[in-house]
Homo-oligomer: 228 residues x 2
Amino acid sequence: MRLIDQLANIPLFQGLAQKQYEDLAMILVDQVFQRGENIFNEDDEGVGFYLIISGRVKIFKLSLEGKEQILHIFGPGEPFGEVAVFTGKRFPANAEAMEESRVFFFPRKAFGELIRQDPSLALNMLAVLSHRLRRFSALIENLSLKEVPGRLAAHLLYLSEIKKGAIDLTLEISKNQLAGLLGTIPETLSRILARMGKEGLIKSSGRQIKLLDRKGLEELASGERRLA
Amino acid sequence: MRLIDQLANIPLFQGLAQKQYEDLAMILVDQVFQRGENIFNEDDEGVGFYLIISGRVKIFKLSLEGKEQILHIFGPGEPFGEVAVFTGKRFPANAEAMEESRVFFFPRKAFGELIRQDPSLALNMLAVLSHRLRRFSALIENLSLKEVPGRLAAHLLYLSEIKKGAIDLTLEISKNQLAGLLGTIPETLSRILARMGKEGLIKSSGRQIKLLDRKGLEELASGERRLA
C-alpha cells in the first residue's frame, strides 16, 4: 500500500486533502521495531509522535523495584506519544514494541512547521477528533444509560442514608469526579440528572440535589425501573 | 466569572497557556439566545463555531413535511458547529436555543488566523482532544467488555450457522462496520478479537476468522462465560 493510502486509513488523519497527505508523507519516518525493542523512555524529550501501521506497542512505567506497570497497549491505526509531543512535554512513560511493529514517526518540528504553513491541516485534524469524540460520547451515553442511572440512584440513596435520611443533598465531589466514579462522562451524567429531574425523581441545581421520589430511586437502583 | 476563567473550564480549551486564553477571549463574541431562537440554519455558511456557556441548544433537521428530527442536544461546556467550521463546510443542520442560552461565538477567520500566528494553540487543542478520546476509548472498552464479547460470539455462531456450520468464516463487512453493529469502536473490537484468540476460542487474521472452540463461544454468547 502506498504511504498516502496508509495515512488516509488512520482515524487521526481521516478526510484530509490529497496535498495534506503528501505533505505528511514527506515528513514522516517509516520505522520497524523488533519484539522487545525500546521506542522511547520516560523523560525522553518528546521530539515527535508515532502512528502504528502494524504490530503492537506497550506504554509502561517502571516501579522503583523495576516492576512494569502497563498503561496502554496500542495497535494498528493508533497514535502514541502525541499528547506529550503536542503539548511540548517530555514522554511520561516508556514505549516498547510487543511484536515486530511498523510505525510512522512524525518529528514535532516538521509537523509544527506544516501546521504553520497550512493551518487547515490542524483544523481538519481538530474536526476529525471532535467528530470522533462526539460519536464516542454518544456511544458512552448509550452504554451508560443501562447501568449508570441505577448506580447514581444508589449513590444518592447512600448519601441520604449517611445524612440520616436527609432529602436535601450536596455533592461533596465535582460532577467530573462523580462521572468518573459512576463509570461515565460528565456530559452523560448531566443528561441523566436532567432525565431524573424530568421524571420527578430529583431536582438538581449545581451540586444541590433534592430527592423527590425515594421509592422511584429505589426501583431505579434495584433495576426494576429504567429511565424513559 | 471572567471570560478567561470560563474558557479554561471548557474541555476543548483545557490546559492552554494564559496568553492563548487571552487571544481566544479577544476574538470571541459573547451572545445570548432566547428560548426558541434560531442560531443557524442548515446550509448556512459555517462562518464560525459555538461554545455553550449556559443553557441548552438543539441541533435538528427538518423533514420535507416540516417534521423536526433532533440530532443532538448540547449543554454547558460543549461546542457545536465546529466540525463543519473546521472543515470549511456549510452547516449540515439547524441550531436553536431550547432555553435562554449564553454562547461564545468564534469566527472561523479570526480563529484560523490565531492558529496561523500560534500553531501551538492548535497542537494543544489536538492534545486535549486526543487525550480525551483516549479516556473515552478506555471507558467504552470497559463498558463494552461486559456485553460485546457475548454479542460478537453470537454473531460468529450465526455466521457459522448460515454457512452450514462452517468453521472458517470471512467477515463480509469491515471491522469498523462490525464494531458499530456490536455497539463498540474498532479499537475495542480488535482487542476483543485478540483476547478471544488468546483464550483459544478463535483464530483471526484480517477478515478471516476460524472458530476453534464452539462450546466456549456458545458459553460466551449465553453469558455463562466471560473473557478474562
